[in-house]
C-alpha cells in the first residue's frame, strides 16, 4: 500500500489550486508545524486520514484505502463570510475535479463522496473565522 501516493493525489491538486490564487493562500497539511498561530493571516488546513485499508472484495491483489478529507479555511474574523466561502469554493472545485479523473493503469484512482458542509465557526479568543468541509474518499493504487 502506497499511502504517500494516496495522500499526494489529494494534496497536490489542493496545493496547486490555492497557490494559483492571487494572492496565493498557504496550505498546511498533516504534521506541518508552520501554521501561523494567533495571526490574522488567512490559510488552509488539510487533514487526510485513513480508515480501512484493503477491505476484502471479489478481486484479489487489491490496494484500496478509505478515509476522510477535512479541509478548514481560516480567514480574518469580523469581515463576513464572503472571503471564506470563496476559498471553500476553490477546495470544493478541486474535490469535484478528482471525481472527473479517468482510471488508468498506473497511479492512484481517487473518488470522493458527498461533501459535508461548509460549516462555519469562530471563537472569542481565536483571530480567525473558520469554514470547514469534509468528505469520504476511496483510493486505489494502480501501479
Amino acid at each position: 500500500m502506497n499511502y504517500q501516493a494516496i495522500r499526494a493525489a489529494v494534496e497536490n491538486p489542493l496545493l496547486s489550486a490555492f497557490g494559483a490564487l492571487v494572492p496565493a493562500v498557504p496550505v498546511y497539511f498533516d504534521n506541518i508545524t508552520a501554521v501561523p498561530p494567533n495571526t490574522t493571516t488567512e490559510y488552509v488546513r488539510v487533514n487526510v486520514t485513513f480508515g480501512l485499508t484493503n477491505d476484502p472484495t471479489l478481486t484479489s491483489s487489491v490496494d484500496n484505502a478509505r478515509g476522510a478529507i477535512v479541509i478548514r479555511i481560516f480567514t480574518e474574523k469580523g469581515r463576513g463570510p464572503a472571503r471564506n466561502q470563496t476559498l471553500i469554493t476553490t477546495a470544493v472545485n478541486v474535490l469535484e475535479t478528482l471525481n472527473n479523473s479517468n482510471k488508468s493503469t498506473t497511479g492512484v484512482f481517487f473518488r470522493v463522496g458527498s461533501i459535508n458542509g461548509p460549516s462555519f465557526s469562530s471563537t472569542e479568543e481565536a483571530p480567525h473565522f473558520v469554514g470547514r468541509i469534509d468528505t469520504s474518499y476511496t483510493a486505489t493504487v494502480l501501479s
Binding site: 498561530p37 486520514t49 477491505d55
Partner: protein, 182 residues
C-alpha cells in the same frame, strides 16, 4: 384428507417460525451493530470527564430511544432498543446514533471553542502539545506543550467516513445470521 390438512398446517407453522426467526435475527443484527458502533465511538473519541462518552443515544425509526446517563465516569455500554416489525420492514433508516452532550460538536472537532484546564486528569490517556487553532484535537508538538487531547484531531469523520461503520454493520449482521437455528 385430514392428515393432508394437518401436514399443510404444520408447513404453515414452520413457515411462520422461519419468518419469526429470520426477522428476529435481522432485527437483532442492526441493534447489535448500533450498540457496537457506540462502543467504537466511545473508544475512538475523547474521554476527559466521561460526560461526552456517556452522552451517546440510539433511537429507532419509530421513536424508541435508549441513551447514556450523560454523567462523568468510565464510558458505559448503551443497549439499543429493538426494532418494531413495522420499523424493520418499512423504514430505510433503522437507527439514528447521536450525542446529546452540550459540547458534542467541539468534542467531534466540528467547531472551534475556547478551553480551560478543568484541573483534573482525563480518564483516557492523552497526548500533549500546543493547540494551534480552536479545534479540540489540533495539537502540534512532540508530546510537549501546555495543551492535552484524549483523541486525535478528526477522529469522528475518520470513523464515520473511513469505512469502519460499514464494516461494523456487516460484521454484526454476519454474526446474527450465523446464529439462526430452525
Amino acid at each position: 384428507m385430514a392428515r393432508s390438512r394437518g401436514f399443510f398446517n404444520e408447513l404453515d407453522r414452520l413457515a411462520e417460525n422461519i419468518d419469526r426467526f429470520a426477522v428476529a435475527a435481522f432485527s437483532r443484527g442492526p441493534a447489535r451493530a448500533a450498540e457496537e458502533i457506540v462502543v467504537d465511538l466511545q473508544e475512538a473519541g475523547p474521554v476527559w470527564s466521561g460526560k461526552f462518552a456517556n452522552s451517546w443515544q440510539i433511537e429507532t425509526s419509530d421513536g424508541r430511544r435508549t441513551a447514556g446517563t450523560g454523567a462523568p465516569g468510565t464510558p458505559r455500554r448503551i443497549p439499543a432498543p429493538l426494532l418494531s416489525g413495522r420499523g424493520f420492514a418499512f423504514d430505510d433508516i433503522k437507527y439514528t446514533i447521536s450525542n446529546f452532550a452540550p459540547h458534542a460538536d467541539v468534542a467531534r472537532d466540528l467547531v472551534e471553542s475556547d478551553y480551560i484546564d478543568p484541573g483534573t486528569l482525563p480518564i483516557k490517556e492523552y497526548d500533549r502539545g500546543t493547540r494551534i487553532s480552536g479545534y479540540r484535537g489540533d495539537l502540534i508538538g512532540d508530546d510537549e506543550g501546555p495543551n492535552r487531547s484524549t483523541a486525535p484531531l478528526d477522529w469522528y469523520p475518520t470513523y464515520v467516513q473511513g469505512g469502519s461503520i460499514d464494516r461494523r454493520i456487516k460484521l454484526e449482521l454476519d454474526t446474527e445470521l450465523g446464529r439462526i437455528r430452525l
